[in-house]
Amino acid sequence: MTKHQITPILQLNNITKKFGGLLAVDAVSFTVVQNEIFGLIGPNGAGKTTIFNMLSGLITPDLGQINYLGQDLTKLQSYQIAQRGIARTFQNLRLLGNLSALENVLVPCNVHHKTDFLADFLGLPKAQLAQKKTYSKAKELLDLVGLSDNIKQQANNFSYGDQRRLEIARALALEPKLLLLDEPAAGMNTSEKASLSDLIRQIRDQFNLTIILIEHHIPLVMSLCERIAVLDFGKLISLGEPEQVKNDPLVIEAYLGNE
C-alpha cells in the first residue's frame, strides 16, 4: 500500500441490521481507503451481502452511519448513491436480461450525459453527439472485459462467465469511484479466475477505483486483496493484511470450527 495515498473513501461506523430476531450485521465498523482492493470474507450467512445492500441503499441500517466522501449514505436513495459513484455487481447476476449486452451498458452510461429531454427526443445535433460518445464508451467497456462479439444479442443468451463480465462492464459505465463486487469468481474455472484477477487489478489502476470484494475463493482473495475484513454471524472478527488474517485464531475457528 506504499504507493497509495492513505485517504479514507468509506467509513462504516457501528453498522447494525436486524431481520426479525436475527442480527444480520452486528455493530460493524471499518474504513476503506482510496485505491485499495478490500476483501470482505466470512462463512455463509455472515452478513457480507447485507453490508453491500446497505452500501448501495437497497436496505437501511437500523443503527450506525456510513460515511462516503463526507456524505452519510444511509440518508440517500439507491439511485442517488449510484449517481455519486458507487457501483456494484451481484452474487446472483441481475442483468437486464431481455435487453442487449450493449443496452445493459448504455443505461448507466446515460446517467452521465445530461442532454435535456427535448434535444434528445428531437435528435438535435448535440444530443446525437452525446449519443455517439455514449455508444463508443459502452463499446470500449465491453472490449475491456473481453466482450466485443455479439454485443447486440440479448444478455440472457450469454454464457455464465460472460454475464459476470458484462455486469462488471455495466458497473464501470457508472464511472464509479467505489466498486462493490459480490462473488465475481463464482462459477468460474481456474483459468477464468486468473484472468478475472488480472482484470480487477487492471480496472482498479485504469479507472482509479477503490474495490470491495466479497469472495469465497480464498486463494483469489489472499492474492488480490490488500486488506481483508472477516465477518462471522454478523460480527467483524478480524481485519488486516492477508497474512495477518490468515493466521488469526478467530478466523481459523470460524472457518474450521472449534474442536
Binding site: 448501495s56 441503499g57 437497497l58 436513495q77 439507491s78 439511485y79 449510484a82 449517481q83 457501483a87 456494484r88 441481475r94 442483468l95 437486464l96 436480461g97 431481455n98 435487453l99 443496452e103 448504455l106 443505461v107 448507466p108 446515460n110 446517467v111 450525459h113 442532454t115 429531454f117 434528445d120 427526443f121 435528435g123 455495466r170 457508472l174
Partner: protein, 316 residues
C-alpha cells in the same frame, strides 16, 4: 360485399382501431413498468372527454351542481384537445400518488392496486356525475372548422365516404403511436423505461430515479387516455360519465389480445378489434362488443400469450 363498401368499412375500422390502440397503449405502459393494470384508465378517458368539452366552450346541462356552467373562454378544438390531455395526464399522476404509490411503498401485493385503482375509477366517475350530471353531451358540429362532413375517396358513381372526423382521428393516432414508439426505442428516457420494466431495483442501482420515471409513465398514460377520450367523443358523443368504463373493458380486451405489456401488441390488438367491429353489419351493431370479446376468447384458447406476446417458458 362490393369493393367500395369493403374499403369504407376497412377505413372506418382502421380509424376506430387506432383509437383503441392509443388507449390501450396507456394500459400497456403502466403494465410493463409496474406489472399492474390501472383500472382507472377508462375513467380518465371519460374525464378527458369532459375536459375538452368544457375547454372548447361547451355548456353543461341542468343536472349536477354545475348546471348551466360554462367556462368564460372558448379554446379552439386543437388547443382544447392538447390542454385536456395534459390535464388528464396530471390527474393520472395525482392518482398514482394516492392510489398506487402508498401501496407500492408498503410492498403490497400488486393485486391490491387493482382494487384501489377500481375505487379511484368510481370516485372519478361519480364526481363527474355529481358535478355535471349524467346527460349525453355532443360536441358542436363545427369543432374541426369548416371541413366538410365527409370526404369521398371513390368516384361520384361509386362513393367511398369517410367521415372527416374518422380521418382526423386516424391521423392523430398515427402521430401519437409514432412518437411513442420513437420515445421508447430511441431516447434515453425510453432506455431507462425499458430498464425499469425489466427490473426496478437493478435500474435504480444503475442511477435511474425510478419514482420519477414511474410518474412520467403515468403522465403519458393519462395523456393517451385523455386524447382517446376526446377523439372518441368528438366522433360520437359523450354518453354520460360511465362511458369510459365499458371502453376501459374494451381496452383490456385489446391488450390481452395483443399480449400484455407489449407495445406492438397493443397497436395490433387495437387495429384488429377495430376492424372486426367495423365489419359487423349495421343491423347487428348491438353485437359489436360480443365480437371483440369473442375474439379475445378465441385468442385465449389458441394463443394465451396474445398476438405478439412471448411464450412463457417455465425454467426448471
Amino acid at each position: 360485399m362490393d369493393f367500395s363498401l369493403f374499403l369504407q368499412n376497412f377505413l372506418n375500422g382502421l380509424s376506430i382501431g387506432s383509437v383503441y390502440a392509443i388507449f390501450a397503449l396507456g394500459y400497456t405502459l403502466v403494465f410493463s413498468i409496474l406489472g399492474i393494470i390501472n383500472f382507472a384508465h377508462g375513467a380518465i378517458f371519460t374525464l378527458g372527454a369532459y375536459f375538452t368539452y368544457a375547454l372548447a366552450g361547451g355548456k353543461f346541462g341542468f343536472n349536477g351542481i354545475l348546471a348551466n356552467a360554462q367556462l368564460p373562454f372558448q379554446l379552439p378544438f386543437v388547443m382544447a384537445l392538447l390542454l385536456s390531455s395534459v390535464l388528464s395526464g396530471l390527474v393520472t399522476v395525482l392518482l398514482e400518488r394516492l392510489a398506487f404509490k402508498p401501496l407500492r411503498a408498503r410492498n403490497a401485493d400488486p393485486l391490491l392496486t387493482l382494487v384501489s385503482s377500481l375505487g379511484a375509477a368510481l370516485v372519478i366517475v361519480n364526481l363527474i356525475q355529481y358535478l355535471v350530471g349524467a346527460e349525453i353531451y355532443t360536441f358542436p358540429a363545427n369543432i374541426y372548422g369548416n371541413l366538410p362532413e365527409a370526404i369521398n375517396f371513390g368516384t361520384a358513381t361509386k362513393p367511398i365516404n369517410i367521415r372527416t372526423v374518422q380521418i382526423i382521428v386516424f391521423g392523430v393516432s398515427v402521430i401519437i403511436v409514432t412518437c411513442l414508439t420513437y420515445l421508447i426505442n430511441y431516447t434515453k428516457v425510453g432506455k431507462a423505461l425499458q430498464a425499469i420494466a425489466e427490473d426496478t431495483t437493478t435500474a435504480s442501482l444503475l442511477g435511474i430515479n425510478s419514482e420519477r420515471l414511474i410518474m412520467i409513465t403515468f403522465f403519458i398514460s393519462g395523456f393517451l387516455a385523455g386524447i382517446s377520450g376526446t377523439l372518441v367523443s368528438s366522433s360520437v358523443s359523450i354518453a354520460g360519465p360511465y362511458f369510459g368504463i365499458s371502453f376501459g373493458l374494451k381496452g383490456l380486451a385489446v391488450i390481452v389480445l395483443g399480449g400484455l405489456g407489449n407495445i406492438p401488441g397493443a397497436i395490433g390488438g387495437g387495429l384488429l378489434i377495430g376492424l372486426a367491429e367495423a365489419f359487423v353489419p349495421s343491423d347487428y351493431s348491438g353485437y359489436k362488443d360480443a365480437i371483440s370479446f369473442g375474439l379475445l376468447f378465441i385468442m385465449l384458447l389458441v394463443r394465451p400469450q396474445g398476438l405478439f406476446g412471448k411464450k412463457l417458458i417455465q425454467k426448471v
